[in-house]
């Protein structure tokens, strides 16, 4: 009489499988962190004297209630905004900026330090479009800074910033910080919003 009980399932490796799954999920799950575009609002107190800025140094971006874009008095598509902003910032009209690659157009900005982007929106403008425009303008600055950093230090600006934040980065942080600040003064972010 053969005694045939069902063979016991070997559960010895079950724990291994469980740990494998655990590790898989641990690695693939990211705790969501918010990210966004950082801005600094201008302080409330108005400066007494009016600063005179030449018209050619201002790059006006108007957003109307129908989400249409008017850049320097011309209608423009959102996708062309970045290139137009780069061209304006990098123009180097007075020739004082030796790293600029612009056209040296006399009717456009003098140098990146003087160039100001002015953004005005209506109350009816949707937030989505506003963010898209902000994003393109920030992107213009970032591209110029990347190019400048790549030319001077052989590394894009965004990578330098990532290194600076990375605690495991082996290099000299103070020197890196000085480099970052240098790039920031080469292409200062002068983005003003009109109320």
């Amino acid at each position: 009489m053969a005694k045939r009980a069902a063979p016991e399932v070997n559960a010895g490796s079950m724990a291994d499988i469980a740990f494998l799954l655990l590790i898989f999920f641990l690695v693939t799950t990211t705790i969501e962190t918010d990210s966004g575009i950082n801005r600094k609002l201008p302080p409330m107190e108005e400066s007494e004297e009016d600063v005179v800025i030449k018209q050619r140094n201002i790059f006006t971006v108007l957003l109307n209630g129908k989400d249409q874009l008017l850049v320097e008095d011309e209608l423009m598509e959102l996708k062309d905004l970045r290139a137009a902003a780069i061209e304006f910032l990098d123009n180097n009209g007075d020739g004082s900026c030796d790293y600029c690659k612009g056209k040296k157009d006399k009717s456009s900005s003098d140098n990146p330090d003087k160039a100001i982007i002015s953004l005005k929106n209506e109350r009816e403008t949707t937030y989505k479009t506003y963010i898209a425009v902000q994003n393109e303008l920030v992107a213009a600055y970032n591209e110029l800074r990347d190019a400048r950093a790549l030319a001077q230090y052989g590394k894009p600006f965004s990578e330098m910033q990532a290194d600076y934040k990375d605690v495991n980065w082996p290099g000299n942080k103070e020197r890196l910080k000085a480099k970052i600040d240098q790039i920031k003064t080469d292409y200062p972010q002068k983005l003003s919003e009109v109320q």
Binding site: R4, M14, L22, F25, L26, I37, R123, Y127, Y130, A139
Partner: protein
């Protein structure tokens, strides 16, 4: 004859449950890691816009959240215009200053200059509301703001 008499009285081997704790712990760990504690219950639609030039907003304890958007389906009685939400309830623009003051009071004094205001605004809200919020923030000198967005391309998406 004896061939059909094999059935012994309920000789099924018990299922080995030795690894049950492992599985339970696995699930526990997974949920511990993946869960994000929600601070506020949203009463508004909050479909954030897309942007790709984003910076991370770390140090969660130094962030004050201001939500804005159209009241969600359960709260249609509040109208269809975009509203501000602070903490767990609808608020008006006037309440922003008080909210910032309360948030500041709850933080240690030396941390106050590092506080950032995160604006989580629905992509269909209009800028009038945001302008008003920004004006209020300037009045109370909360100048560091962050437009919270989803990561993605701004072009070709609606």
């Amino acid at each position: 004859m004896s061939k059909f008499k094999k059935k012994k009285s309920g000789d099924m081997p018990a299922v080995n449950t030795a690894s049950l704790p492992d599985i339970v712990f696995m699930l526990l760990f997974f949920f511990m890691v993946a869960t994000v504690m929600r601070q506020n219950t949203l009463k508004i639609e909050n479909n954030l816009p897309f942007a790709d030039q984003v910076e991370k907003l770390d140090k969660k304890d130094l962030v004050m959240y201001i939500y804005a958007g159209k009241p969600s389906a359960n709260y249609v009685q509040y109208g269809k215009e975009a509203r501000i939400q602070l903490n767990d309830d609808f608020a008006s623009v006037r309440d922003v200053a008080a909210f910032i003051a309360a948030e500041r009071a709850s933080k240690r004094e030396e941390l106050i200059p590092f506080l950032t205001t995160a604006l989580k605004v629905d992509s269909d809200a209009n800028m009038g509301l945001i302008g008003d919020i920004k004006q209020e923030l300037r009045k109370v000198n909360a100048l560091k703001i962050n437009y919270t967005t989803k990561k993605g391309s701004v072009l070709g998406r609606d």
